[in-house]
Amino acid sequence: MNAFEYAAPTTKEQAVSLLGSQWGETEILAGGTDLLSLMKDNLTTPKRVVNIKDIKELQGVKYSGSSGLRLGALLTLEELLSNATVKKEYPALAQAAEGVSSPQIRHVGTVGGDLCQRPRCWYFRSGLGYFPKATGLQGPAFAFSGEKSFAEEVTNESGKDLIVNGKNEYHAILGNSGPAYFVHPSSLAPALIALDAKIRIFGSAGWREVSAEQFFVTPKNDGDRETVLKPNEILGEIIVPSSQGNPERDIRSPAKGGPGLAPSLLRL
């Protein structure tokens, strides 16, 4: 991990002013469950890390029958799923939070962080970006006596799409025309989209609002990110309109404690 500057602002205005205008210059720290592993793997090397955990305004949960549910981005997943009102009025949200594996992660991981996770695509996590391609010549590293030599067996697979041709059992196959094929790892996103939630984003020009559905985008270039957030904006809060309970079905890999493969939600 590289050395970096650390800032812990107490207001959202300070936080925004501390953020850079390019992705990767600065990173936002809340629960840190994803950021730390990204930094340890050198997938991001920010010059400054801005800890937003001390911004009181972005914490907490509030409910009223008329205006619905307001979730501060800093609410932990454990706070969300153990909240009596959420359990009663929005059981799908509580279930989705429960779907985030391991109590340790739920106790530090935040609602905003769940939505801003980077892809768990293992090519991406290996440092190959969204669009891993074979580069140059590929062939056996050694040739033993009697076998073909490297030069005889080498093939030029340059430009071959590694995900499409490779190990893609955890990649997106439905509703994705590419060019990036990862599955978004957020557990809460399907529930928030089904519940018509609004994501409120704070930037230097003040608040703006997008629907949960529009919040996510498929990156077209390696420098892009997976949401409509700009580098110097913060996911501040989430507003969920009053609603009926919804069942959720989560498709996971068999080992306990692994990330969800394909969270889904059916609204009845």
């Binding site: 041709n165 068999p254 306990k256």
Partner: protein, 132 residues
């Protein structure tokens, strides 16, 4: 995994509790490598894709069934053999035992560990489904 029984013959037992613990440990390891552990490599680049504890899967506590360890003991002939190693032997049989249990349940052998859902479906497909 519902129930898993191991009967271990290891010669003279000095301390039964720790000897049993060795077998329990081996059984847990056996469940891990029979059902979960797998190194995934990218075929084109030869890069390991799951060199981390997120995608290199291990059994969690919920994946471990009811384990029964039965130490072969009170047999003068066995005791006379003296102390024999116990670290590795009980780790040898779980994959075979679990593989046999799967073959018994679905009527077809899954020839490669770990016996993942995908490999079981593949074996069933080759056989032509569960019903035949």
């Amino acid at each position: 995994m519902n129930k898993f029984v191991a009967v271990q013959d290891c010669g003279l037992i000095i301390n039964e509790k720790t000897a049993e613990s060795q077998v329990f440990g081996a059984m847990i390891m056996g469940v891990c490598f029979s059902l979960f552990e797998e190194r995934v490599m990218d075929d084109v680049t030869g890069r390991p894709l799951n060199a981390n504890m997120e995608f290199y899967k291990l059994a969690g506590i919920g994946d471990i069934g009811d384990f029964v360890v039965h130490m072969w003991k009170d047999d003068p002939e066995q005791d006379a053999r003296g102390v024999i190693g116990l670290g590795e032997p009980p780790a040898n049989s779980p994959a075979a035992a679990i593989g046999n249990a799967i073959a018994n349940a679905i009527g077809v052998r899954v020839p490669q560990a770990p016996f993942t859902p995908a490999r079981i479906l593949e074996a069933l497909e080759k056989k032509g489904g569960l019903s035949s």
